[in-house]
Symmetry: C2
Subunit: 568 residues, 2 copies
């Protein structure tokens, strides 16, 4: 059997796990006929109760489930149904295990009935997972045809469909219900989501555009409200890009805050810029709920790379005290409108201005962010991502003989020389020196913020466009477009996505007079087309220092509230 | 000028910085004539007041200096005098800057006089530094002849004698007085201290034996009470070995607890097992004083690799509450008497038994530590330390053409092939899997401790001998003897040294019937000679989980107190 047959078999097996009652009875319209399949479009296939449940954020859901007002079963069934629809609309799932989820939900309901209390703070909350997390009885392909029927590409390990990632165990113990795994670009090293199994995952809000990547299936699924919260990973923007492209909240925590233990990955063991796990959700409160839950489990006792930093309520309170009406205290934000390399499209610039207005309206301050050369950072990150010259991902493709998607082939079609230990060490030193320089720049802002502190956060685009057109997202920092996310990974900062607005073709007109700074800049400038992008989501990122998850989530929630987007 | 002339010039320049009044008027006796130059021997050259000051631990010193009872100047002068004597006895200094120290102390006294309060919690406390720390107006050679007149081997950087390490800045801001830098083995990768500049640093308690390494000059200096506290570094035992060999307390914190920023190093950028900074001192309380001080400065704002974990008083209190008389609560310690690879010498085994007795006398429990294979860990650590095949250290020797000491030549005389990115990544994965396995073993002990918790700490030898004979300490894990320290580095655990006893030739007799487990084991078994080792210090290590510095220091202090060794 060739790779195409394996891929087709797997693709069909996913579709076959959708119960007949949840199969779409109508053909999916073309993007020209129906650009946006969120909202009213998908609602037509759901009951009123299903709509009510699935359009409630995770915080609202657990308020009901932990009091027994909604059963775990009805919540789970509603999300399974909506997720099934979402997959048929935009190809966002890799694994479906609705039956197991509903069985788990029933057990939770029994637990509630017999104990008179919820199992944990996430009792009955459906959580979707990017297809890197291992779940018992479920396969993990990570988009590789060659991983079908294996454990991370290896056969006969005894771990196939048995082993579970640490995060999965913790989520179950907190009472969450796991029900599906979502699509990823093969290799994970892309800002779009495509592979030879499920093919391409489209953006449900604007089906001419990408859903983002690499946690793209999560973005698309949550964008359709087929899940209230999902777990992604981010090594160069992979949580933030799909969060923003789908109008969601999301957070890239610093490395070592949440457990990555036992999660499949590309280039595992590359130790310089590490991938992190983090949630995407329809509210900032949902992100806090999940992170607090996980930290309450002392994950540092089960993942050797997690630092012992429990949830710090006082860090939230510090911001809440400033923000409280009548406090007479201020925050100060730095704003980076343009990184000097790629000029963001008009809707992104408008979103940044909207956030500045909101900050000022709330009585806080802004300054301009003028950091050390981001070009230097791009060079370091670019080297790091190419340490093995493609060895790891090429071996995964070789398992089946399947071809690489164009965005992947551009980096990995040919094997590059592997870096030596000395070259890696030199890059690590260069990275640390860049981090130090950047850190001291951040410290230096205390003289101009007017608050007596350095800036509380940096507001920045996370991509130069609202969403990418197919095959235009250059993920790696070295190509410029992705550097709006990757600088955060290089510096190991905390960054949350704040959904701000949508593209408005009447307002966000083309910059006719813009003179590009480079060929790359020109290329990205030219991809903007108001008619095509109209309606697409626009988000920005709120960046904090290392391990500032509590502070950044609180700020993000405050700004989201002020923008009228407490729950999206 | 050849390397010998440069080395001699540097060696003489150090000696010339000792004021004539502090030069020894008598020839240093041979080790056969005077094995032990600590205590009464060195006291003969000091005034009563100098003895009182220098035999007070850091906690006692700052109690006096921060109340103005002792001036910073008199304290500094006393330690400078004693350090000058120490160097003449055992070759423990690389850099002397007594004049600058006394000038700094005078400024502190002026500060106290004009402000009526100390500058900080370390006001007037002399702190010695391993010769990896950069101090303004002072050179850093790290024992390399080729680094003389350079900044880390490079000329014309503009940083020479100007740049300061982050830790140095923090110590000054806390009120500490820096006065000398101490000897290291060239490369730092040795458990003994020798280089072509100062030659060999001997153990002051038993001058037939090594002072340990790589923070060996610190160990010897503090062993002679020429400093109350000093900063070392530890990648495979380099704080713990000299602490134990010189009867001191010392701590190897987890990586990311204290700032390493701007400190010179070997193989900088090797990112798998990272060197850490930590103090050695004459009391556990002194270690706490210094670490609390550094953490009060928010070092995570100045070192990108430091995690935001402030000093956690509640972690100390947790142990103090258990230990309080009448609490009826217990701790449980795991004891590893033998790692199954190298059998410790009789005095080490006796020290372990002494600690067990003390634990039982205090009403706590012990179990046997039966962890995952330490041989597997040795293999991983051995690979990590050879990633660059010698490229970095060989380049440093090549600068001057100087020869390697035998312990160094054994690993680096020939260039080995460099590891590739893929090989490094595979080693990193193997390391993480070993850490996870070890962590789950630790967790599993909760079923047998009787306390409801996993073991609170592990008691283990940190070397199979009380101190090494010259040229017998195989530092690297792959040779077995050093694995008693290196497993802690591989696992990134917190480990403190508890000074327990001294070798007693009458009690610690040779194991006549012992059957060695291997050639290595036999070799180490044969190095034991009660007559030669008689009087040498014996310490053990108290090992805690990652980032458990507060807990481990508290336990170490309690056990030291019970052993009658609150201040050594």
């Amino acid at each position: 059997m060739d790779w195409k047959a394996y891929a087709a078999q797997k693709r069909n097996s996913i579709l076959q796990l959708i119960p007949p009652a949840w199969k779409l009875s109508v053909a999916v319209p073309s993007p020209s006929e129906q650009k946006d399949v969120t909202g009213k479009y998908i609602q037509q296939f759901l009951t009123t109760k299903e709509i009510t449940i699935t359009e409630t954020d995770a915080v609202g859901i657990v308020q009901k489930t932990t009091l027994g007002q909604w059963s775990a079963q009805e919540v789970t069934e509603a999300f399974c149904h909506r997720a099934a629809l979402a997959h048929q609309l935009v190809n966002c799932l890799h694994e479906i295990f609705f039956a197991a989820a509903i069985a788990d939900a029933k057990k939770l309901d029994q637990y509630f009935a017999s104990h008179g209390k919820p199992k944990g703070p996430l009792h009955g909350l459906p959580v979707s997972l990017k297809d890197q997390f291992h779940v018992k009885d479920v396969e993990t392909t990570m988009g590789y045809v060659g991983w079908i029927g294996t454990f991370e590409g290896k056969k006969g390990t005894g771990k196939e469909k048995v082993f579970e990632s640490e995060m999965v165990t913790e989520l179950r113990d907190l009472g969450a219900v796991l029900f599906c795994k979502t699509s990823v670009p093969h290799t994970l090293m892309a800002g779009e989501t495509m592979n030879n199994i499920i093919e391409y995952t489209w953006n449900p809000k604007n089906r001419f555009l990408a859903c983002g990547g690499s946690s793209g299936g999560e973005g698309a699924l949550l964008g359709l409200k087929g899940s209230p919260i999902g777990m992604g990973t981010d090594i160069g923007g992979s949580i933030r890009i799909p969060a923003a492209f789908n109008g969601l909240y999301g957070i890239r925590p610093s490395h070592g805050r949440l457990p990555y233990e036992g999660v499949a990955n590309s280039m595992d063991g590359q130790n310089s810029i590490l991938s992190v796990v983090g949630p995407l959700a329809t509210s900032a409160g949902a992100l806090r709920l999940l992170i607090r839950g996980i930290l309450s489990r002392d994950p540092w006792l089960h993942d050797p790379l997690v630092a012992e930093i429990p949830w710090r309520h006082e860090h939230e309170q510090f911001i809440l005290d400033i923000a409280r009406a009548g406090s007479k205290k201020q925050m100060c934000f730095a704003v980076m409108k343009d990184d000097g390399i790629i000029h963001p499209h008009p809707p992104i610039r408008r979103a940044i201005e909207m956030v500045i207005s909101v900050i000022e309206k709330l009585g806080h301050r802004t300054i301009t962010w003028a950091p050390p050369s981001h070009q230097e950072g791009i060079d370091i990150a670019g080297k790091t991502f190419m340490f093995d010259g493609g060895t790891d991902v090429r071996a995964a493709f070789a398992l089946s003989g399947e071809p690489m998607a164009p965005a992947i082939a551009q980096n990995y079609a040919k094997q590059s020389p592997e870096y030596t230990a000395s070259q890696i060490a030199a890059t690590n030193v260069q990275k640390r020196q860049f981090q130090k320089k950047y850190m001291e720049y951040w410290n230096s802002t205390s003289t101009i913020t007017g608050t007596g502190r350095p800036v509380d956060a940096v507001i920045s685009p996370l991509a130069p466009f609202a969403a990418a057109k197919r095959d235009t997202y250059d993920y790696y920092g070295m190509y410029g477009g992705a550097w709006y996310t990757t600088w955060v990974n290089l510096l190991d900062y905390t960054a949350a996505v704040l959904p701000v607005t949508t593209v408005d073709k009447e307002v966000d007109v083309v910059d006719e007079g813009y003179e590009p700074k480079s060929e790359q800049d020109e290329m990205i400038h030219k991809t903007y087309d108001p008619e095509l992008f109209d309606g697409a989501h626009v988000g920005v990122q709120i960046v904090g220092r290392r391990f500032q998850e509590e502070k950044i989530l609180t700020i993000t929630e405050i700004l989201g509230h002020a923008l009228g987007r407490l729950v999206v």
